[in-house]
């Protein structure tokens, strides 16, 4: 194992894999910022059971979701709270989940019941299943009932079918550039929404393209290195499993622009399961779908919808809550299952 390999910690946040997690934990304090990374990683492991972690003053505090009723709100409050949902696939109706409307509604209910109300939602794509207007309409309607004031989107490959993303842009990308990329700031945290599902080439992976990369470089230039940055895009910006298209051809270039920042969080979807990797100051995280699960890399013939017993379905779907407390700390990311 090389030093750079050792610096990357891979672990699953699914409950079944929690036992394997410990051997993948790598403990470095190479930021010398006093962050208790052992505690951070341990807390991430509890995420599968529905734990809620908040970083305050470099100390990680964790609470199980069941105890949250007893919690003093000021203890749980970070400076910025938002939630990530992904892959709602409105319009999907096959065996893996005949009722994606019900499971998206359950996800919103879960979000609305979080102890710290998220200020906004990030939807990391595949809002619809077939880019049909009624599918987008239904998703929008359900999202309206969330307690969060705003929803920020990036498209998945299912959202740009048949019209090269024209409808997606009209609905969700009015202030965006190109195929729908944009950035915004919330309480000193910089967010960049990227599009990596356009102009895909035969045999290829996700693609950002030169125009977007140039925009990103320019967009990040003016920020100080201490600004926490969150980048969100549909297809993972790291190489999860290229054989199944789970990666982005030119993400290395994007990541090179992020290298100088002290805290970078990359939030993706597409693979319909939670996965996390930490490399230096960058935390990569993929969210579960609110519609249907997909198999773990290489565990099936293809990355199609994975059928599970009906009563177990909600255990494979989920939402993600992200909390940021000002300081040099990484953002606390917690995945919660729907059932």
């Amino acid at each position: 194992m090389t030093l750079s390999q050792a610096r990357a910690a891979y672990f699953w946040t699914n409950e079944e894999n929690m036992g394997q997690r410990h051997k993948d934990e790598i403990l470095y304090d190479h930021n010398h910022d006093g962050i208790d990374r052992r505690g951070f990683l341990k807390c991430m492991a509890w995420a599968g059971t529905g734990a809620f972690c908040v970083m305050q003053g470099g100390v990680l505090k964790s609470y199980s979701l069941s105890r949250l009723a007893d919690l003093d709100p000021s203890e749980a409050k970070g400076e910025l709270s938002f939630a990530q949902i992904s892959d709602s696939h409105m319009g999907f109706n096959k065996a893996a989940n005949p009722d994606v409307v019900a499971t998206l509604k359950a996800a919103i209910e879960k979000i609305n019941a979080l102890p710290t109300a998220p200020e906004f939602l990030l939807h990391t794509g595949d809002i619809s299943h077939l880019s049909k207007p009624e599918e987008f309409d239904t998703a929008d309607q359900i999202l309206k009932s969330s307690i969060a004031k705003d929803v920020f989107f990036v498209p998945g490959e299912h959202d740009v079918l048949g019209d090269d993303g024209k409808q997606y842009l009209e609905r969700y990308g009015k202030h965006a550039k190109g195929a729908g990329w944009y950035s915004f700031d919330k309480k000193g945290v910089h967010f960049a929404g990227l599009v990596n599902v356009m102009n895909l080439k035969a045999g290829g992976l996700g693609s950002l393209g030169n125009e977007q990369l140039e925009w990103l470089e320019e967009d990040l230039k003016k920020l100080s290195a201490s600004t926490p940055v969150v980048v969100f895009a549909h297809i993972p910006l790291w190489s999860v499993y290229p054989e199944w298209g789970w990666g982005t051809e030119d993400s290395a270039q994007a990541l090179s622009y992020l290298k100088r920042f002290g805290s970078v969080t990359v939030l993706n979807g597409h693979i319909h399961q939670t996965m996390q990797k930490i490399e230096g100051n960058v935390t990569f995280h993929t969210a579960a779908s609110t519609a249907f699960p997909q198999p773990q890399p290489g565990q099936a013939e293809s990355p199609g919808p994975m059928k599970v017993p009906a009563e177990e379905l909600r255990g494979f779907l989920g939402i993600t809550e992200v909390n940021f407390v000002r300081g040099k700390q990484a953002l606390a990311i917690v995945d919660a299952k729907l059932g």
Binding site: G162, G204, W244, P305
Partner: protein
């Protein structure tokens, strides 16, 4: 003895026929990247089967999506042929008038690739 022989003689061709029928009708199984000279391509399990189809100029090739996820049929150059998104059981056809090798892929899941060889 005579009776027995007769039975054996009849059974053999029946078995041969049913074997042939089974192969002809069901050969386009998911996941098997074979060559074919028929003009039908089945899409299932994120695979075009057969992966290579060889036809004569003027043949119409039919694709049918049997997967539980939508796919498209798009030539590598993205202009020669381009289906709309095909949901489960939807079909697409294209008539290949000029000889050549036409590589294509699914534009939604670009790792899915295949080709049509037109002679």
């Amino acid at each position: 003895m005579k009776g027995k022989k007769k039975v054996i003689v009849w059974i053999a061709p029946i078995l041969a026929f049913s074997g042939l029928y089974a192969q002809a009708g069901k050969s386009a199984n998911a996941g098997r990247k074979e060559s074919g000279s028929g003009s039908e391509v089945k899409i299932d399990n994120f695979t075009f089967a057969p992966g290579t189809v060889t036809v004569s100029a003027g043949t119409t090739v039919h694709w049918v999506n049997r997967d539980d996820i939508p796919h498209t049929v798009v030539s590598d150059d993205k202009t020669t042929f381009k289906s709309k998104p095909l949901d489960t059981d939807q079909e697409f056809s294209y008539t290949f008038s000029k000889p050549g090798t036409y590589s294509y892929f699914c534009s939604i899941h670009p790792k899915m690739t295949a080709k049509v060889v037109v002679q």
